[in-house]
């Protein structure tokens, strides 16, 4: 059983549309992450989120992307205007409750985003 739940499992959208991917951690954690995996490629870091703020982001995470934790529980990734190349598996991950280093991330089962 994954320690984070992601919804939806599959999202199909038209190019230019906005999508919101959701992540619900089972327990109360401070660190959250979004990663993506384009088909056939490696898993890539997008953004980390700590204490309700972005703590780090990659060059992939441009102005089209945003994250928030609107209700203190759900953690969302929004893509404002999707492009064909945004088609990928998007994984949410959580870190340990305490901010101790050298602890693994635990991933959800992912949302498959298909942009047509």
């Amino acid at each position: 059983e994954p320690e984070v739940t992601q919804t939806p499992s599959h999202q199909v959208t038209q190019m230019g549309q906005e999508v919101i991917l959701r992540c619900v951690p089972i327990s109360n954690h401070l660190y959250f992450y979004w990663y993506r995996q384009i088909l056939g490629q490696k898993v890539e870091f997008l953004v980390s989120f700590y204490n309700n703020e972005i703590s780090e982001k990659s060059e992939i995470f441009d102005d089209q992307f945003s994250v928030e934790r609107p209700d203190g529980s759900n953690f969302t990734l929004k893509i404002r205007s999707t492009k064909l190349e945004d088609s990928a598996m998007y994984f949410c991950a959580r870190g340990r409750e305490r901010s101790s280093y050298n602890s693994p991330l635990h991933f959800g089962n992912g949302t498959r985003l298909t942009v047509t």
């Binding site: 992450y33 490696k42 994984f91």
Partner: protein, 113 residues
Amino acid sequence: DQQVKQNSPSLSVQEGRISILNCDYTNSMFDYFLWYKKYPAEGPTFLISISSIKDKNEDGRFTVFLNKSAKHLSLHIVPSQPGDSAVYFCAASVKDSGYALNFGKGTSLLVTP
């Protein structure tokens, strides 16, 4: 830039034998290394990790070896079981980057009966 490299896209091993998955990295600042296993339609599942102060970490059938001078790590699975068939990802991180992980492209392991 591919800072973590898994040069073998696939590996086939007989049940009961040892599986050795390899990973090389280029960033000497990496100080925490992990292996994840991934089944189709699931997210990566954490398997085992090692910090740069160690050269070996063992957990049951899984052992990770780290050779810092060669910037190389390996995952040994012994004995291999058919249920181990999955894609294995090597990942690394730098302390000051928080928890952002750099992943390799993965090695698909097939364990045959």
